[in-house]
Symmetry: C2
Subunit: 212 residues, 2 copies
DNA sequence: GTCTATACATCGATAGAC
DNA sequence: GTCTATCGATGTATAGAC
């Protein structure tokens, strides 16, 4: 009987290392790691949050570190797709100032309202010293594609007369990301308020250089 | 005899809760917290690193959290003085482009070479969700003074014709800090290289608007 | 494949000797 | 004021039943 389910390969419960439980464990681990960080998260709580036993967690993942790395890579891809959706392929069409404004709005709207993303940033930044190999997918899958896309776009718009489009892209992205870090991640909203649109407008004004 | 030292208030050993031991504990705690983070740091290791017993640590500090908060506040002040030294009070004299370039160089030189500062950034950012009250001194004593000083400077230079000096200051600082975060904290140097001076030059070119 | 039970280490914090 | 010794709780990881 039990051999039948194995042979059939159907998706009944109690079969193989069910993908359902793998997902449940990852989901539980996500909540725990994002809330408490790596060191303060116990496999006990992960198991409880996933609704399985601790031994099951260890049958699906080698150890705590393996579970953590799998989770982080998964989340990095997910957030990447959310921010950097190959959406309307013509989202780079139009006046550069309008394109840049739309991009900045999209990035900030996405980041400022996503508490999970902010917790994820805390986790990656906080553990980047002890898990350097985890910072890499974050850089490779999130920061790098955005910077390179913007770089190429800025380089393609000769009318902007930018002497260094790549460095300019860094300025654009850096200003926005640090804004999120300061206002949201570090809770600077209260003591160091700044309206979102003031930053965006100044950024676009500088880059598109309307005084020229 | 022991009463004499108390009365005299001299700095002989074995007197009061010696400031020496307090310093030793803080120094030991600094190494441990910066290396392993809050949760993974044990009071046992802190005591060992400080060369005292665990009980002594608890006689100088209320508990682990109290020790941690004292340490962070101390480090924030220290790093503030290092970067933002009220040095030559005329470091804002001269051509704006030269002033801004000197400031950017100073900030990046300071941050890129200071591994301890980078670990400190990881610690603050990583724990800012669970210790929001610790992010505040960091913002208040480091980010805010720098941004406000630059804000006022930019506002005072009317020839720059900046429509929003405060937002422009954010762009300046944000670009630099995110550069440090991406290249050093997140180890992006290898996969996403960018020469420091390219960022600085573009930043100054945009702000001083030489095409005008 | 998943569970319960457990081995073994280490944690934060304190009591009591000196 | 500082130490050693220890308490109680909790951590990771695994063995063995089903």
């Amino acid at each position: 009987m039990s051999s039948m389910s194995k042979i059939a390969g159907l998706n009944g419960p109690g079969r193989q290392k069910s993908a359902e439980k793998t997902d449940a464990i990852l989901k539980g681990a996500m909540g725990e790691f994002l809330a408490h960080g790596y060191a303060a998260t116990s496999m006990e709580r992960v198991a409880a949050a996933a609704g399985v036993s601790k031994a099951t967690v260890y049958s699906h993942f080698q150890d705590k570190q393996g579970l953590f790395m799998t989770l982080v890579r998964r989340l990095a891809e997910e957030k990447y797709r959310a921010v950097f959706n190959p959406q309307d392929s013509q989202f780079l069409q139009g006046e550069p100032s309008a394109v840049l404004q739309s991009l900045a709005h999209k990035m900030l709207d996405n980041a400022m309202g996503d508490k999970q993303l902010q917790s994820f940033m805390r986790l990656i930044l906080g553990e980047s010293g002890r898990f350097p190999e985890l910072a890499q997918p974050y850089v490779e899958n999130l920061a790098k594609p955005v910077i390179e896309l913007l770089s190429q776009y800025l380089a393609s718009r000769g009318e902007l007369q930018l002497s260094d489009p790549e460095a300019t892209a860094r300025i654009f992205i850096g200003s926005l990301v640090y804004f999120v870090i300061l206002q949201e991640v570090l809770h600077g909203k209260k003591n160091l308020p700044l309206e979102r649109d003031r930053l965006i407008n100044s950024l676009i004004e500088l880059i598109t250089n309307p005084k020229h």
